[in-house]
């Protein structure tokens, strides 16, 4: 009967969707094996998080607040999460593999001296947990068994299917994060936005990416237009980033972001192994490339062999019609 704790990430009050995916999966495991699903929230107002967590099947939400938890700080937040685990002894603490989650997970695990597994895409319970995760940039998968009573597991966004359970939203139970007199060590002085409103790559459900085939920076707007029409994030290959056509934050691949959206549309991308590394776990892959022999077609579900300059405007139009 595993008790499964899920970290509910918020930044400036904005809740990360990966939490609901993790709670959905935790619910499925608890339904099959017994045990409870707990949301853990750090920040000022837990009410929305609690209602949402209840919707996806959390039995309880534990919440802590305080000055040190108003903005992200790795020392304070990891102390609070480790403290929570020491008191409540969940069998697993799931943390989304976001910028915050990747920073937080190992630190919590080190404080608990427990097993830490990064960037998991699958979870099984059979008396103990078995965690599936890609290594070698997705060229191989491993099943990992934690050897400690509790384990901290990073979960890749979009790895788990959302499922509403229509459960009653429970009231949050507050806990003491144990932060009195804490030395914060490294402090976030400020946050500079890169111009809001855009969909983020790491948790996007749809991504449209452009490669060297777009020919120049002025044509990246073709990618952005299709992305916008789809409510998608805009990505890029390293070739495009290294040429300076778009910012590094758009790069998908081994030395860029790892993504796993429902739909990935690769336009003018050859499909080099290092690019595939970042996107091969996408559920549906579309390739638009004028070279029928481009390796991207080996992983694609749908493909068009043609000039992207002819295809993209028409595709954007068609998608616009479908979406409206």
């Amino acid at each position: 009967m595993p008790n499964l704790a899920v970290f509910i990430e918020q930044r400036d009050g904005v809740l990360k969707k990966v939490a609901w995916q993790m709670i959905s999966e935790a619910r499925r495991i608890a339904d099959a094996n017994g045990g409870e699903v707990w949301g853990v929230f750090l920040g000022q107002d837990a009410s929305t998080a609690t209602a949402e967590a209840g919707k996806y099947g959390a039995d309880k939400v534990f919440a802590a607040s305080g000055d040190a938890l108003s903005t992200y700080n790795s020392e304070a937040w990891s102390t609070a999460l480790a403290g929570f685990c020491k008191i409540n002894n969940p069998d697993i603490l799931m943390i989304g593999s976001t910028a915050m989650g990747k920073d937080l997970g190992p630190k919590v695990a080190a404080k608990l001296e427990c097993a830490c597994v990064s960037d998991a895409v699958g979870l099984k319970f059979d008396g103990g947990f078995e965690i599936r995760r890609p290594i070698f940039a997705g060229k191989c998968f491993t099943d990992v068994v934690p050897k400690t009573a509790i384990s901290v597991v990073g979960i890749r966004p979009n790895a788990f299917v959302l499922e509403e359970k229509g459960g009653a939203a429970t009231a949050a139970e507050t806990f003491d994060p144990g932060l009195d007199g804490i030395d914060l060590k490294a402090v976030v002085e400020k946050f500079e936005t890169s111009g809001g409103g855009k969909v983020e790559l790491t948790d996007a459900e749809i991504i449209v990416s452009g490669g060297r085939g777009i020919k120049g920076p002025e044509n990246y707007q073709l990618i952005e237009k299709l992305a916008e029409t789809l409510g998608a994030a805009a990505g890029a290959s390293r070739a495009v980033v290294d040429a300076g056509w778009v910012d590094y934050s758009h790069q998908v691949g081994q030395t860029g972001k790892t993504v796993g959206p429902n739909l990935y549309i690769a336009c003018g991308i050859s499909g080099a192994i290092q690019h595939l590394a970042g996107m091969s776990s996408s559920k549906c892959i579309v390739a638009i490339n004028k070279d029928a022999n481009a390796p991207i077609f080996k992983v694609a579900d749908y493909g068009i062999v043609a000039d992207l300059f002819d295809v993209l405007p028409a595709l954007t139009d068609e998608v616009g019609k479908i979406r409206s």
Binding site: C116, F136, F141, D143, P146, K147, A186, E189, F191, Y302
Partner: protein, 259 residues
Amino acid sequence: MKIAVCVKQVPDSETRINLAAPAAVLDQSGFTRILNPYDAYGVEEAVKIKEAGGEVEVTAITIGPETVKETIKKDCLAVGCDKAVMITDPVLDGADEATIATVLVAALKRDEFDLILFGNKAIDDDSGQVGILVAEKLGLPHISAITHLEIGEGSLTAHREIEGGKEVVKASLPAVLTCQKGLNEPRLPSLPNIMKAGMKPMETVTCADLGLEVPANLVEIKLYSPPPARAECKLVEAEEPAQAAKELARLLNEEAKVI
């Protein structure tokens, strides 16, 4: 100022994994090995700090088999690191991230470092844990996945990219940083420097030399399997690209149900 750069030798990113069926072990013997690309950002940053002036000593530290020597020589010492410590010990074959962190901590404690640099992640295990684990075990501040660094008097400021923008984070020294692409452009070693690198101090130690009893792994890899097979690509063909686009949109909507 003393800087340590923790580096790992990893299989080249072009490496193909030959695994037809699930197996309990993964044969990695034939792989070509390189310096982990993220660690190259750490090496470059350390060397840049040294070049900026002042008394700076850069030590590369690695855990790995005998074969790491060439990588350390060429990609660390020949580009400007002053010396290297290699922890080579068969008991560490198959060590997990927590064990690697424990061993690195023992090596790092032999000296007093002001700055300890790591890669953001190793491209073989793709974990991104070791730097953060080490920082916590040493009780030091860490900033992960940095893309910009400024060293001040007894402190540093780093940028890290997060969803929707960047954080500017300040920490006091000593500190641990993990390096992300964007931090710098690693230089390539020149032939004369590779020759000269052989003269720089390279120390090889075992866990016993570090007075360390190797802890048990906290995780066990039970099975390696090939990635799930993907269905054959459905090519959408039409007289005109615009028609193909229309058909593709229909398929994505009605068949794949993803838009």
